[in-house]
Structure formats: C-alpha cells, structure tokens
Symmetry: C2
Amino acid sequence: MIQELKNSYGHLFEDVLINEILQVGTYKEVPAGFKMMEIGSYVKGMPLLVSGAIKVLREDKNGDELLLYYLEKGETCSMTMTCCIGQTKSEIRAIAETDTKLIMIPIEKMEIWTSKYKSWRNFVFESYHNRLNEMLHTLDSIAFDNMDERLLNYLKEKARINNDKTIRNTHQEIAYELHSSRVVISRLLKKLENMGNIELHRNYIEIISL
Amino acid sequence: MIQELKNSYGHLFEDVLINEILQVGTYKEVPAGFKMMEIGSYVKGMPLLVSGAIKVLREDKNGDELLLYYLEKGETCSMTMTCCIGQTKSEIRAIAETDTKLIMIPIEKMEIWTSKYKSWRNFVFESYHNRLNEMLHTLDSIAFDNMDERLLNYLKEKARINNDKTIRNTHQEIAYELHSSRVVISRLLKKLENMGNIELHRNYIEIISL
DNA sequence: TGATGTCGGTAACATTGGTTACACAGGGTG
DNA sequence: CACCCTGTGTAACCAATGTTACCGACATCA
C-alpha cells in the first residue's frame, strides 16, 4: 500500500500526511463493474484513487443514465466531499470502469486535515476545480454538440481511460451512457465505420483513427 | 457597508473575519446588465454578494450562450475561486441580472483565510458544494428535459430571482439564454399562454400560474 | 444439432426543435 | 401623418434524434 500511495500521491502530500493516510486509510481493490456508490445512499468515506478508473453517472426520472465523467489515479470524488460536509445523500452513481485500487479515508479526517495540512487543502481545492471543469465540458458537449460528435468523444475518452484501442461494449451500453437509444448509436457507429474511423464487431469496436 | 455585510454574512463569519473583510474588501454597486466577468479574462478578486443576483453564462464555439445558474445574496462564484487557485482564465461570463451590491476580496486572502478561519473554509466548501449541485441540475435539465419544461423552469427561476411575476425580456433574449431560437420560444410561450399559465405582451410576460 | 437469447443492421415513421420567410402590430420620430 | 425599427405570430419546411418493428448472425447450451 505504501508504495502505491507514494507513487500516486507522493508529490502532492508531505510525508507526515502520507503517514497519517497509511494509519487511518483502508486499502481496497474493486473489480471492473463494481458499484461503488448509489444515488440516495450516504457516504461512508472518501476515496483516493491509486489505479484504475471510476465512471460517474447521473440518472433521470425514468431511471435512464448519463455518463458525467471519469475519475482517475490521483483523483478523488468531489461529490463525495460535498456529501461529507453537507451530510447529504449522494446525487450520483459511481461504478468502477476498470479494476481499481483505492484508499478509503474516514470522513472525519476531511475536516481535520483541511485545517492541518496545506497540501491537503490544495488537493481538495484542486479536486473541486477539476470536477467543475469536467462538468462544464460535459455540459458543453450535451448542450452544443450533436450526437455524432458526442459519440466520437465518448469513444476517444473510453479508449484513453482503458488504455485500449478496443472498446469492449455493446451498442446498447454505449447508448445508455450517452442517454440515447441503441438504434441511433448503431446508425452513427455504422457511419463512422463507413468513413473508416472504426471497425465494428460483435461485442467490441476497434478504433482505427479518430 | 458594515451593516450590509453583517446582514448577509454575519451568521456565517466570526467577528474577527468580518473585520478583516471590512479592511481589505472594496464595496461595489453594479447596475443590471453590467458585465462582471468575461470568458478568457483573468480574475482580480473574489466577489461576495450582498444583494441582487448575477447570472452565469457559458458560450459555445459560435458565440451562442447558455445560462448556467444564478448567484444570489450570501453566495460567491466558485468558478472564480477555481481560477484564483489555478491562475487560469475564466471559463464563464458573469452578468448582473439585477442591480447588485457586492464586496470584492483580493485573491491573496483566499489562501490565508482558508488556513486561518474555519468559518471561511466552511463557506468556501459550502460554496463549491452548491455550485456543483446547481451544475448538476442545469445538466439534468438540458440532458433530460424538453424545451417546454426548460422554458417553464426558466420562467419560474427568473420570477423568483427578480422577485417579480413579470418577466421583462423579449422572446429573443430568452432564446439566447436557453440556447434556442426565437421562433421556437415564441411557439412554446404561445402554448403556455393558451394553457392559461402566462399572458404575453410586447417586451414582457406576466406569469399567471406555473 | 436444434432451441434460445443476445447483438447488430435497417427500414419506416414520429417527434422535437431549428430555419426561413413573411405579415402585422406597437411605438417612436421626422 | 408617413416612415421605420423592433418584437411577435405563424406557416412551411428541414434536420436530428427517437421509436417500433423485424430480420439475420452469432454464441451457448442442452
């Protein structure tokens, strides 16, 4: 655990804080697809990602989903922090996109470390900053882009996050995350294939050039 | 200034902090329509709203706008904080919706007060919290709602913010803020009028019941 | 091998929202 | 008053996306 922590957070936190984290944090490994947080649930702790990626989703009245953004190594969930402070329920769902390693921090430490460590404070602010910007870009994409552009960005981002030129998802799954329908996604994917950007197969998509 | 500050922030900040704010803050009054922050500009200070409201807008590649949310009395601009810390350019435009009174805090104080005052820290976190939630709801509305629902919410919110059942805007202005077109907005407004929700007039709209 | 369930391709159609074009009304100005 | 500018109403049309329906390909499993 110590090596992984130092690897991801060593440049951010001073040694004293790293030691505190080692003492109170619990190390966890979760498999891809694991649901880490559900809408309406209360937050038990704050996650520090060590490796892997987590996708953060929003749900509408009908239970349909929308992908908001991914969390990666060295990041944490601002929504969680937000909940810790306000003691409110989660507004979002979080699911491991890949196999993921993380360290859970008890929420009491949030408040304490925030006054005690400048580096922690900066980390927390930085984290909010990043999240707000991610949200802005997600919003841009939904408000201003057509579905074909959104799909393209989705494929790019997915390939980057998974570090894999092969997208291992069905059209239906992609449709869920973009809050669209399977038929529409199939249609647009076929268009991308005809333009030579991707190759379609059953259960996976190969990216040629985007 | 002291009365106004205590009135809006007295319950949030301890007296010592209130005094510091009085020493370093500059009091400003801006008229409705005044542009307080432009996309791409750098941030000089952090605003504490004392009265009035500020609308926060996003712009797309074509220069078209989208209303994100309003800031009200007792709030501050998280985007600004975000910029202060990262020293980055503004991602948004901010325009006074009504005549507005505010106190500008030099950005250096951000860092100092954050370690010095617990109440300031809480205020800053609370502020991020609120902004993230506002963004979530804006995003919900754009991703999940049809234009007629968005328009309805827009009218409600506008009436609330201005504390006035009369919306003093042209259809064109409404269309800008919802990132739609005048014809579409006129169409939907007429539908609302036919259902007895509003009354249309030249240059203003009266809300009957929403 | 045949039954079954999942996945993807495709056509036809519906709906929403955006675009263009034009008419007309209100209000101010010369 | 005639003129003009701006705001609104409305029709006709278009583009993007969503919906329904159906078919065939593939994989699995009995």
